[in-house]
């Protein structure tokens, strides 16, 4: 069983730690930027933001190889950036431009970059679970040790597809890691009102696989837990489930304030444990990072995001003639 919290920084090397920090920061600024973009009316549809959940995304994302695959949820920007997705084509996709990852055809809920092993964010709750199981199946056949990770939220805990694929994954020893990003609320209802028994980790164990729970705001704890589960899966020991407890700062989608069902006190408590600040403090304490570094990095990330918005705004929309393309191969 993995540690529940990390007391000190394991010997990961400065590069990895900085990269972790940078990715978390990038996610945070990306989400804040999309919020602005949405409010200014520069993107259509809805925006489902994951600020607050950075540690879960990055802790898992950085435990993976480039050829490992992930599937994600409708709230997937964090997972995608954690797996190496670039903000420029993401921003363009969010604005529906042809330069987006999916040529404007997927939109903010369906971003994918197959070359990075990102098999798509998915608009159906649990929609990525079948696909992730399939990817694990193929991985096993290929025999190169790659794994398949399925991100999903507390809402998917009760989707039948989880049980069906989990059963198959255990029976067939598929290299599949289920990562439940429990941000406490299934849309507007607290998860404890919706999930019977002891929760997902217990259910996973009942199905015959490892089920681990971890502090989803502690990026190192997530990282350690993920590494352990991923390694054992790579070795052919079968699937595992990691439940990360975290919170989303925003509402279900931009425009929904998230305050109708969550109290200020509750949110303030969570904010005290902001994943980026938590990690920052650790890095300062261990002198891996200085406040100067932090400012520099903030500047860089801010500039990059602002530039991505400007570029995406100038980029063209897809030609209407493309509407009938890519239906069939």
């Amino acid at each position: 069983m993995a540690q529940n919290k990390s007391e000190s920084i394991p010997d990961l090397g400065r590069d990895i730690l900085l990269e972790m920090y940078r990715r978390m920061l990038t996610i945070r600024v990306f989400e804040e930027t999309v919020f602005e973009v949405y409010r200014k009316g520069w993107m259509p549809g809805l925006a489902h933001l994951s600020d607050g959940q950075e540690a879960t995304a990055v802790g898992v994302g950085m435990a993976l190889r480039p050829d490992d695959t992930i599937t994600s949820t409708h709230r997937g920007h964090g997972h995608i950036i954690a797996k190496g997705g670039q903000v420029e084509p993401m921003m363009a996709e969010v604005m529906g431009k042809v330069t987006g990852y999916c040529r404007g055809k997927g939109g903010e809920m369906h971003i994918a970059d197959v070359s990075l092993g990102i098999l798509g964010a998915n608009g159906i709750v649990g929609g990525g679970l079948g696909i992730a199981a399939g990817s694990a199946f193929t991985a096993k056949r290929e025999g190169k040790g790659r794994v398949s990770v399925a991100f999903f939220g507390d809402g998917a805990i009760n989707q039948g597809i989880w049980y069906e694929t989990a059963n198959i994954a255990v029976l067939w020893k598929l290299p599949l890691i289920y990562v439940c990003e429990n941000n406490q609320y299934t849309q507007f209802t607290h998860w404890k009102k919706l999930v019977s028994g002891e929760g997902l980790a217990a259910r996973a164990r009942a199905m015959g696989m490892k089920g681990v729970e971890v502090d989803g705001n502690d990026v190192l704890a997530v990282y350690q837990a993920a590494c352990e589960l991923v390694e054992s899966s790579r070795k052919g020991e079968g699937p595992a489930t990691l439940v990360c407890h975290t919170i989303r700062y925003g509402g279900h989608h931009v425009g929904e304030p998230g305050t109708g069902y969550r109290s200020k006190e509750e949110m303030d408590e969570w904010k005290k444990r902001d994943p980026i600040l938590l990690f920052e403090k650790k890095l300062f304490d261990q002198e891996v990072l200085t406040p100067q570094d932090v400012e520099t990095m903030h500047d860089e990330v801010d500039k990059r995001l602002q530039s991505s918005v400007e570029v995406a705004r100038q980029d063209p929309f897809p030609d209407v003639k493309e509407v009938t393309e890519h239906v069939y191969a």
Binding site: C102, R103, I131, G134, F137, G160, I161, I168
Partner: protein
Amino acid sequence: MSTRELTFAQAIREALDEEMARDERIFILGEDVGAWGGVFRTTESLFQKYGGERVIDTPLSEEGFVGLAVGAAMTGMHPVPEIMFGDFITLAMDQIVNQAAKMRYMTGGQVQVPITIRATMGGGRSSGAQHSQSWHAWFAHVPGLKVVLPSTPYDAKGLLKTALREPNPVLFFEDKVMYHKIKGPVPEEEYLIPFGKADIKREGTDVTLVALSRMIHPTLAAAERLAAEGINAEVIDPRTLTPLDEETLIKSVAKTGGAVIVDEGYTHFGATAELASVIAYGAFDYLDAPIERLGAMDVPIPFSPVLEFATIPDEDKIIAAAHRIVEGRRR
């Protein structure tokens, strides 16, 4: 070119065998498809030949194993999930409709989803309302899917081989009654039948009879009886609903002036409706009689044979419809 007589099931089995030998990315999964050889014997001995890695017995989890198949298809395999009774396909709807059909489009062309879902269809065996339905029309309504319904062993083998080489999701519907009851000539040499090409199974001049899947057989029988009365019917088998060979249908009705469309799916909003619409639009100035549609009666399929057979189109009903088309007309 030498041929031998194969049953519908044997032709399907042969297609699977040949393609699995040719392409190791193809694997079959479903309930009792492996060790048992499939409840309709369509995968007989494939387990013994290719092993449990490629012919996989899944738990009873349509959504689960079809979903897994979609993911496997997206990552380089060509899975062939089998839905034992087409009625159960409802359990896997999200995986087929929201995932498989849309992945390529939503990713802007980054992935392909080469998955061939074999499902059964058709009643007439007193299997009751939940084991006798034919759902091809539903899937023809979903952009991103292809829908195939062979009516003969020859067509089944050629179309299935094409499906197994197709980089897109295919719904391949097999009528249960035909598996062991319909035999036909199948060439020894390899052949493929392309999608989107209807087959004129009988040429005629007085009325066009369009029939899907098993319905081809009572339609051909009806055509013989009509011929004895001096009514020369043309019988067309569309073979694939998506893509649909509109040209053949329209040209035929432009020639004959009238059409009867026969299908085992429900009539109301069924496949017959789309085919009738295609004909009405394309052959408008040549219609000499309203288009007749014969689908399954719009009731849950009953168990007792007397009731069940009343709900399914048959020779007599086809002939009556043809009579209505030619009534008062003369060439």
